[in-house]
Each structure stands twice: as C-alpha cells, then as structure tokens.
C-alpha cells in the first residue's frame, strides 16, 4: 500500500439486491459519504477484515478497499475514475435521460455489524 492509499473506504455489493454498498458506522449504506474511513494500512486491513465478516454472513459480496480523498465538507470521494463511476450507482450518461425508468436508491439498506470502530 503506497502513500497515496492513505485514506480508504470499503465497498461491496449487496448480496440479494446487487447494488453497491459501503461499510458505515451502523452497517452498510448506499451512500458512500457515510462510509467509515480508514487511515493507513493497519486501519484499512482492520476495516476490510470487519467487512469480510459480513461477507461470511452472506450480507454482501465482493468486498474491496477503495482509495478516497476528503472533499471540502470532509466527506470521502473516490480518487480513481472507476470508483467515481461506481459511487454514482448508475451509468454516467443517465443524468439527463428521462426515458429510462430509475428506481430510487435507499440510503440505508440494512444493518451489518454495527461495532466498527476505527
């Protein structure tokens, strides 16, 4: 893990629904701004290990760490364009496309292990 990977969050897909989720203080959320932020390699490993427990409990699938930087309001934003696409939770060209039926996204999808402290 290089210097650039100092801040990271954990993402996965919701097992039954499939959409992307992020590990937050009180479980998994679809809003990456609420994700727990790990600073440095040790915290990242701990956060990932926590997430893996929820993978083992069949709540989520495909856990991995995502490098982030903090925006002006102190919220985590991915630094890589792939992950920026992913947190949008929809194709990049959908913004002004009215013909597509879009389901509203829940912000809080379910409670995972609520005892993550970093």
């Amino acid at each position: 893990m290089g210097k650039k990977a100092a801040l990271q969050i954990v993402t996965a897909n919701h097992l039954t629904e499939g959409h992307s989720v992020f590990l937050a203080e009180d479980g998994w959320t679809a809003d990456h701004h609420l994700a727990l932020i790990a600073s440095g390699a040790d915290e990242a490993a701990s956060l990932e290990a926590q997430a893996r427990k929820d993978e083992d409990r069949n709540l989520v699938v495909g856990v991995y760490l995502v490098e982030v930087a903090l925006d002006d309001e102190g919220r985590p934003e991915p630094t890589h364009y792939r992950e920026k696409m992913r947190v949008r939770a929809r194709p990049s060209f959908w913004a002004d496309d009215p013909h597509v039926v879009r389901a509203p996204r829940p912000t809080r999808v379910f409670a995972g292990d609520a005892h993550v402290s970093l």
Partner: protein, 551 residues
C-alpha cells in the same frame, strides 16, 4: 422458427428449478460466493459494476414476437424498463436482483428461452447470419445448422469445462455477416461443390486481447460428418488448449502456436478415431430441424412495388430510410428491414420495454411475427412486403424507431463499457453518443456512406473494435480514460484486423480526431468509393496522419 419439444421444455424447467435451489442455498448461506459463482455464471448471471447482470441467450439471434413481448415484460417487472441487445445477438438485463432471477428464468422458460451457457468456459450461444433464410445472396439457410449445434452443445458433458469460452458462428451466404473468421469455429455452408451439402470449416479466430484471423481447417466437411468433425476440433482443444494461463487459453492461441499444419493434422487424426456411427442420426436430425425453418408460402408478387416507389417519391425521410435500412430479399416483392437501435445520443443496442413491444407489434403486422438480433445490435424484420414498407416505417416512427442509419457512421457498435461493466477500463457509450451527435445530419451520413465504427471499453473487445473500419479501444492511461484508435478492420469475408494508429486520445479528443479523418476521406475518395476502399487505396499511414493532423 424452432419450437421446443417435450425434452427441451423439461430440460429448461429442470435447470430453472435447479438454479432456484442454488439461489435459495446462497441466500441462506449454505453456499458461499466461491461455491455459488460458477453456478450463477452457468446460468448467465454476472455481478457487474453497479448490480447483477443477466445475459439471456437468443439462439442465432432469432426471436418471435411473443418472446420479444416477454423480454419487454421482464424488463418492466424485474429490471428498470429496458434491455441491452449485444454484439453476440443476445440481450442483457442490467439491474436484476438475485432473489428475482429464478422467477425471471421461469418467465423465460414460458416462452422457450433461457440463459444457459451465456457465460463460463463452455460452448456459448451459437450465432448466425441475421438474414438467415431470407438474404438474396444466400446459398443455404444457416439456422438449422445453428439449431443442431445449439442442441448438441447444450449441457454437453465433455465440453462444459473447456480451457476457456468457445464461440461458433454459421453463415450460408456469400457475404459473411456472421464474422466466421473471427470465431473459435466458423462455418460456411456450401451446396455448390458437386459433393452435396457440406461445410467449409474455420477455426482459431477471435478478437479480445490477441486478435487473430482463423485458419481454414477443411475446405469441405460433408453435412453428415459435421458433428463428428466439430467434436474432433473440440477434443483437440480440450486436451491441448492451455489451462495454465487464462490469457492464452482460447483455441486461437493453440492454433497459432502449433501452426495450421500441425493443428489440422491433430484434428484429422482425432476425426479418424471417432466412430462414424451417428452420421445417419445427424442427417435425420437436421432434416427434422429444417422442418421448423421451411420458407413461408410467399405470395407471388412482382419484385417492383409501385406503392413503395410512390411513397418514396412523396416522403423524403421514408425514402432515406428505405435506402439505408432495407436489404435485398430472396423472394420477389419482399425486403429485409433493419430497425436501428442507434438513435442520436442513445446507448447503442438499448431498447425500452415499450420499444420492444412496438417491434413485436411491427413483427406481427409486417414480418410473420419474427425478428432477429444482429451483431450490430440492431433488430431485423426478415419478411416485409415492399408494399408494406411505408406502413412499417410509420409505425416505427411512432416508437422512435424509424432511424435511418443502418451501416452508416452513426450506427455505432459499442459494448456497455465502464458505465456497467466490472472489467471495463473506460466508458464506451458516451463516445458512441458523441459520435451519433456529431454526425447526426442524415445527408452527411449518406454522403459518408457505409462505415463501421466499433467501440470496446477494454481489451476484451466485446465491442469488436478490431474489426471496425474505425475501431476505438478504451484504456486507462495515467489514471484517466484514454482511447486508442485502430483503422482498417473488416469482419467480413475479406477479414482484416485493424491497425493501431498511434498514441491514444483523451475522451474529449476522440470524436474530433474521427471528424478530421472523415473530412480527409471525403476529400480524397474517388467516385463510388466507400471508406474501406479509400483506406486500402491510400494506405494506413496517410489515413493515420489525418487522424493526428491537429492533435
């Protein structure tokens, strides 16, 4: 069209029920993801960037109106109201929920469809000329052969765990619209050799990270020996194909590493070892299947339609659509109609549920209830009377489907790219959208003439960029999307792999570069030349210079 028999129905229902049980065990945790992944992939279910994706097989791209309506209902009930028609003549749903997938598969089984073998290291959905049975230049309808291969390869115990995926394409026409030279096995049906019906067999073609043109393995395999011969190729591949390196595991690597001569020898030796005891069965089965593809009783019509001529004279937009979106039919007075799924600013190959229903209605009214999906991500109506073309076009226009651009510059082929795909390194669809907007003017498109632009969002090449006149490959370069352009690719009988032009372009520079190239072509082309002819005459270097002229 082929109709399921009792065995087909039972087989598909059993697979749905089996998968339902597997999903239930996954949801209860009895299966973990490592155990479940190969099972879901065998049933066409992927996990993508934002959600699950279900790829549904459309055998050799052939659909009934009833099936199309069911695809629309599934899109509305279980997805987000649309589907994506792919370069392999299938449809993909981008947002299904795992818990709903068994029900979706049940709904598919109701209309004789499934998602089996649309993923995994097995023989995938067999593809064919989308104009099969109706093209004016056709020698033999490829659909019966494609259906025979579909049945033979479905759940084939020996070929379910190949070194890598395996794709077979069939054409029965002089012009190759099935891209047979870029498939693991490509077949061209011959009847005019004096030896009866048989197949010219190609193998070892492919796109992906290592594009290769196949080699001709045999000039002629008699019809009855087809399955035995394909079995010989499959066995050589299964035994000799590399399993140590995923990126070298396709048959194309085996064929090209060993060389054509050795590969042919291995196949012929294996062929000689396989007993010829099923050949009567194969011939009989083909005859049985052919019954499903008997040509309709075409009414005796003059080839010229005065109604069509009159309508074209009165309506310039319709006349343009006829010029660009209809193709020569083998029956006098009939035409093949192409419904373009490439609106200006749209996502190539996407259709909403309402559009699917509109196409199904059009098929019922004008095309004997049948549709095809093409590798260009368009929908084909194979049986339209020339007298009916105006009414068809009017009905398509109502659904926003009367787009006059088939095989023109805005008929862009694109994979889903990074907007959906977990493997992608760059977006494809926004580039396609920008191209369709930049070249939206219909008269400009007609002036430019036939040209294939194909875009892939990663080196796996689902957008077939290697065989585009202009191929665009999206990559990551220093933390940003970058696009490499290839020129001179050709998917047809004159197969060619596009040549890389030079350094990549940033996303905002790609369409400007293409515009420069197109202007250069328009300036330099000679009378009657199409883009690919000008490219071949002027050569790669001159065309490449135009691409970078102001870069």
């Amino acid at each position: 069209m082929y109709r399921y028999d009792d065995f087909d129905h039972q087989f598909v229902r059993e697979r749905v029920n089996q998968f339902r049980g597997q999903v239930e065990r996954r949801l209860t945790g009895a299966l973990n993801e490592d155990e479940f992944r190969p099972l879901r992939l065998m049933n066409g279910l992927y996990l993508q960037l934002h959600a699950y994706m279900l790829r549904v097989a459309i055998p050799y791209g052939t659909l009934s109106s009833r099936q199309m309506r069911q695809l629309a209902d599934i899109a509305e009930t279980y997805d987000r109201g649309y589907g994506h028609f792919t370069t392999r003549q299938n449809i993909q749903y981008n947002w299904p929920k795992l818990k709903d997938v068994p029900e979706i598969l049940d709904r598919l089984a109701d209309v004789e469809m499934h998602a089996i073998q649309t993923s995994g290291n097995c023989i995938r959905n067999v593809t064919a000329d989308p104009y099969g049975g109706v093209a004016a230049d056709e020698i033999t309808d490829p659909r019966a052969t494609a259906e025979l291969l579909r049945q033979w390869s479905s759940n084939h115990p020996e070929f379910s765990f190949l070194p890598r995926k395996f794709k077979i394409a069939v054409t029965g026409a002089r012009a190759d619209r099935a891209v047979i030279k870029f498939h693991d096995i490509g077949l061209r049906i011959h009847e005019d050799t004096g030896l009866g019906r048989g197949y010219e067999v190609w193998a070892g073609g492919g796109l992906g990270r290592t594009p290769m043109i196949g080699i001709k393995v045999r000039d002629f395999v008699p019809e009855a020996e087809l399955l035995r011969y394909i079995e010989a190729i499959m066995r050589v591949y299964n035994a000799e194909g590399r399993r140590d390196n995923k990126y070298k595991a396709r048959i194309k690597i085996l064929v090209h590493e060993r060389g054509g001569e050795e590969f042919r020898q291995l196949v012929e030796e294996e062929f000689a070892r396989i007993p010829a005891d099923n050949e009567t069965l194969v011939a009989n089965e083909l005859r049985r299947i052919e019954e499903f593809f008997t040509p309709p009783g075409y009414p005796a019509l003059p080839d010229h339609s005065q109604a069509l001529t009159d309508a074209m004279a009165k309506n310039a937009a319709f006349a343009r659509w006829v010029r660009t979106n209809t193709r020569a039919h083998k029956a006098p007075g009939f035409a093949i109609a192409v419904i373009s799924l490439k609106p200006t600013g749209g996502a190539p190959g996407d259709a909403t549920a309402d559009q699917m229903r509109a196409m199904a209605d059009a098929a019922d009214r004008f095309s004997l209830g049948e549709l095809r999906v093409s590798a260009e991500q368009n929908i084909i109506l194979p049986y339209v009377k020339k007298d009916d073309l105006f009414a068809l076009w009017q009905s398509l226009e109502e659904g926003g489907l009367g787009i006059a651009n088939a095989e023109l510059i805005s008929d862009v082929v694109a994979c889903p790219g990074l907007d959906y795909c977990a493997l992608a390194t760059a977006r494809s669809i926004p580039i396609a959208q920008e191209i369709t907007e930049r070249f939206a003017e219909p008269s400009l498109q007609e002036k430019i003439g036939p040209i294939r632009i194909k875009i892939s969002g990663c080196i796996n090449a689902c957008g077939h960029h290697h065989v585009g006149d202009i191929g665009i490959l999206g990559l990551e370069k220093t933390g940003a999307e970058a696009y490499q352009i290839t020129l001179g690719g050709d998917p047809t009988e004159s197969a060619a792999i596009g040549e890389r032009s030079g350094p990549g372009f940033p996303a905002e520079g790609v369409v400007d570069a293409i515009e420069r190239l197109i202007h250069f072509y328009l300036e330099k082309r000679e009378d009657g030349e199409q883009f690919r002819q000008t490219y071949r005459r002027l050569g790669h270097d001159l065309m490449k210079e135009a691409l970078y002229a102001a870069h």
